[in-house]
Each structure stands twice: as structure tokens, then as C-alpha cells.
Symmetry: C2
Subunit: 237 residues, 2 copies
DNA sequence: GCAAAAGTGTTATTTATACACCCATGT
DNA sequence: ACATGGGTGTATAAATAACACTTTTGC
């Protein structure tokens, strides 16, 4: 079974797909596309074939731009993993996909880019229902949420969901959306404020939206990795 | 830029590579091969091309068996991620590798399988030195250690490093090898014993090796995921 | 006896969690 | 006034870490 003497591997197509999460009214949403070539009504994650000369993250960034006109720097795309079961997509032979995670707050209204696709956000819970997404994209979205939750604990990636200036309440909503449970506002505040270099208080206060006392605004600090992690025990298990 | 209308992607070869960790005298070691076709003296991770009809994990399992005759069930191989920088290996065109993590205690003396390769264990610290491994395998090994450390905290995977029956001291050495620091034996014991379903005490004691009081033997419990994780704060940062 | 590893006990410190309570704003 | 979210105080419980001490073996 010589390996490197083999010069031809049967047709394998390498794709990148991206799970782009955002929050809409505090609810986790994921960006999907509906291709004209897929009239079965199923959605798919934005993605496409990797091209020569680009890294995997660069390919994901390019595809995301082509389909949504949103710019994500490759270094802000986090790899979820490779999905390569032989029966996952046999339209053109074997398809292997490397999935990436992206996050953004307040996304622009999705508009089709140069691609003949229709892009939109759908709720995470809907995307996780069987039969809504093509191929194994349902699994990818699930893995993406798990990875995102984990990243929320270990890194400052939650701030990618916030504007440049944000309140602690807004930051808390990010965590709550991924954890699917409410967190104690008082304890959450102390927890994130104690982490040195995580968030930096500003002098100004938020413009009050609806009721409630105006909140202090914060900007992101330099800290990228949270150690020890912000950690909230799960109810289950 | 139509994507799914494209029928040919320029030559892309999809490999799997496996980082197999073991402990030799309490020191972290990684399995490497030296290929006859690579006479530059560098080592490489065991791996090869993915074949038709097999999952990525099955491919890694097969390659590992072909090169070491050690059997690892695909479900025991943990995916590290995909490595696909365009300049990582240009011998036959573009090469993308999906890396897996495996762990085993007391490995059999590596012997070359049917492949024309020489397999051996080298110390993790050596493998991490520049110029020792081919391509980006140095990075893969680093990511593998990080993932393994993380897995040690979150799952019962550390037990894969132990025999069927083991002492708590042996289990502690596994954690110490990955964390690269010593842990307090008293606190470690209490921590792992408290986790319900993690390890199960046996009646028998270990045969004393060298000095010291004989230790109680344990077997692995049913618990696969540790929640809350076993958690040891790092010194650094 | 002495060294070494297993195992128990104790204590100080930190962290998690719950929740009472005040503050500042919109309605 | 009252609802709402911001923010502080605080008590209880639990986890962490450091380390003293006893136990049981090999040498």
C-alpha cells in the first residue's frame, strides 16, 4: 500500500463552509443560502471550493464576501473542523468540507452578492431541525455552537458580537444566547469586570433605550485569551 | 464566480495524519515515521491519502494500522483539524491534511508494517524543535498537545493512557506529562475520586514497584465527559 | 532506620451562587 | 408611581491550593 508513490486520488473536492452566527433580538441566528441549483427548498451554509494559492481561511473569507459582501479577515475565522464522510455530498464525486465559525453583531441586511444565491438569517433552532439544511450542515451548525460556547469561555471572542462600545448587559445577552439560559446580571458583571484587560470602562453612558438606568459603556481590552476562563456551570448532567 | 457549476478543482490531495501520543517513563512521546523517499533525515507523522468509501477517521485508523500494526478504532481518534496552507506540501500539487489525535499507554515496540517506513517514538520536546519534522507537522504536534490537554480536563480520555487497571498516581503522571508541571498528589486524588463514575476502586492493590506503599487499583467508569472539568490553573499568564 | 509513594486531615483563600437592595431612567 | 434594567452589598456554599501528617512498602 504505497502512499506517496500514488499520483492520483479519485476525484476529491475540497470545500469551505462558514457558520456565521449573529444575534437578532437576542436570539441566535445563522446565515444560510438557498441555491438556485437546489430547488428542494433546503438551505445550505455559505461556502464553495477552495482555490489555488489561498489558505483555507482565506477561501472561507472570500466565499463569505462573495455571497454576503461582508468582510471577515481570515484570522477572525475559527476552524471548526473537517467533514468528510464519503456519503455526505456525492453530486460531483467526493466532497470534503472544512468548516469555519464567524461571528458578527448587527449584520447588514443580507443581499445576494455576485452569486446567484439568496442569503438570509434563520434561527439556530430552526437550522438544527432535520431536513432544513443540506448534507451534514445541520451537524456543522451544532458543532459550531458548541465551539462558540467554548470560545466564549476561553477567549474574548464574545466581543466580536458587540459594537465597538457596548454595555455589560449587551455582553451578557451574548453569553445567554449561546448558553441558552439566563445568567445572574450582578455576578456576571463582577466576573467580567474582574478579568484584567478584558473590557475597559469608558466615561460615557449608553443612550437609554426603553426603560432602565443608563449603563456604562465599555470597549474591548487587549486580552485575547481568558485564563482562567469565564465559567458557568451547566444545569444539566 | 460560479461554484457548483465547476467540475474540476486543480489537483488537491487529501491526507490524514495522526499524532499518536504515549508516555515513556512519564515523558510525552509522539510516533513518527521516516520514509525512504524522504532522505533529508526529517521525520513525518504517520498518515496517507484518504481512499474512496472511508471516513476521515477510518482513513487515519487504517494508515495507523498499516504503519504500526496498532489498532485504533476510528471513534477513538479525535480530529485536531485541517491543515491546508497552499505551500505546506507541493510535491504532487496541493496537499490538505486532516489531523487526528490518538493516545495509548505502553505501546508495542514499533515495527514497520507493510510500508517501507521506519516507525519510532521521539520525545514531544524534540518533535517541537524546528527542522525535525517535515512540512507543518511541527505545528500539528503542538496543536495536538493543546487539544490533548484540553481533553484531559473535559473528558475521561486520560484513561486511554492507562492500563485496564491503574493507580491514581499513574493517572496523575498522565496529567503532569501533558501539563508539563507537577500536581499535588493529595488534591489530585480527591479531585478525581470525587467525580462520580470516572474511576472505580478495585479491591486489589498494585504490586509494589520500587519503593512506596502499594496503591489501590482502579478501573475506568462509564463517565465519558467530565462536567465540571478537572481543572488546574496554569502558572503562566 | 530511611526514602518513597499512598493516603488522610486541616486550614486559608478564592470563587460561585443566590438574592436583597438602591440607582437612574422612560412611561 | 411604577416598571425596567444598571449596579452594589453580602451571606452561604463550594472549590482550590498548600502543606502537615500517617501508612506501608523496598532497600
Amino acid at each position: 500500500m504505497p502512499k506517496h508513490t500514488r499520483t492520483v486520488q479519485h476525484n476529491v473536492y475540497v470545500y469551505v463552509d462558514t457558520v456565521l452566527f449573529t444575534l437578532i433580538d437576542g436570539v441566535l441566528n445563522v446565515l444560510v443560502v438557498k441555491r438556485k441549483t437546489a430547488p428542494d427548498g433546503k438551505f445550505a451554509l455559505p461556502g464553495g471550493l477552495v482555490e489555488d494559492g489561498e489558505t483555507l481561511a482565506e477561501a472561507a473569507s472570500r466565499e463569505l464576501y462573495e455571497e454576503t459582501e461582508m468582510e471577515f479577515r481570515p484570522e477572525n475565522l475559527l476552524q471548526i473542523g473537517a467533514y468528510g464522510d464519503p456519503d455526505r455530498d456525492t453530486r460531483y464525486g467526493r466532497a470534503i468540507s472544512v468548516a469555519f465559525l464567524a461571528m458578527t453583531p448587527n449584520p447588514p441586511v443580507p443581499n445576494a452578492g455576485s452569486d446567484a444565491t439568496s442569503t438570509q438569517f434563520i434561527e439556530y433552532r430552526k437550522a438544527r431541525k432535520p431536513g432544513v439544511l443540506e448534507f451534514d450542515h445541520r451537524n456543522i451548525v451544532g458543532d459550531a455552537r458548541r465551539l462558540a460556547s467554548r470560545q466564549l469561555e476561553d477567549t474574548a471572542i464574545a466581543l466580536n458580537f458587540c459594537e465597538e462600545e457596548f454595555t455589560i448587559g449587551e455582553l451578557r445577552i451574548v453569553y445567554e444566547a449561546f448558553y441558552q439560559r439566563e445568567l445572574d446580571p450582578a455576578n456576571f458583571r463582577r466576573k467580567v469586570e474582574k478579568i484584567d484587560g478584558f473590557i475597559i470602562p469608558q466615561k460615557s453612558l449608553s443612550l437609554s433605550e426603553s426603560a432602565g438606568r443608563p449603563a456604562r459603556l465599555y470597549k474591548r481590552g487587549k486580552k485575547q485569551d481568558l485564563y482562567p476562563p469565564i465559567y458557568f456551570r451547566r444545569q444539566d448532567q
